[in-house]
Point group: C2
Chain length 107, copies 2
């Protein structure tokens, strides 16, 4: 796989749920892009045995990590440790784009 990528070339929208693209899948992690249009949500879920990292690329997201809820904007890093329930909702009027890494990635 190409080791040099620009997330802007993978951005997009999906009418149902939200947009997802895989940028890189290796042995130890998966790197992806999630784009949430206004009012789209990634429902509460947890990854057993895998840590997850969100990096906010653009827009504004309302995140919950376990019992903590916080708004995060471009430049913010949000970590969901293995087994911890997490969700994100785009309550703004602009697209929310998130770089996502999950380690280990899905096999």
């Amino acid at each position: 796989m190409n080791p040099f990528l620009d997330w802007r070339q993978y951005a997009g929208a999906a009418a149902e749920k939200f947009y997802k693209a895989t940028l890189w899948q290796g042995e130890h992690f998966m790197v992806g892009l999630n784009c949430l249009e206004p009012n789209q949500t990634q429902s509460v879920h947890a990854h057993q045995g895998a840590d997850k990292l969100y990096f906010v690329l653009e827009g504004e997201g309302r995140f919950t990590i376990g019992n903590e809820e916080r708004t995060a904007t471009a430049g913010a890093l949000v970590v969901a440790p293995a087994g911890i329930a997490h969700s994100v909702k785009n309550m703004s009027g602009e697209r929310l784009s998130l770089l996502v890494a999950i380690a280990p990635g899905p096999k």
Copy 2:
């Protein structure tokens, strides 16, 4: 550890080599910040058994991944798969800040 972080609060400079900060360390990955001042270099090295992800936050870096050499700027993702030699040099006149994730992280 705090799941909500802003890399700008961790940025800094180191006179020798380059600046490194750990942002988050979990069971499955480590997330860090590397800041290279002009002319600073991260020498060629490889991580056996761990994939590494760089995300360029600001500035411009000259990366080598295996035999490939490329300049990457803000918004670029650069991946060094496990065992592949990689390096980065700041040949610009501004600070180069990189978000770095290594999976699995150092124990």
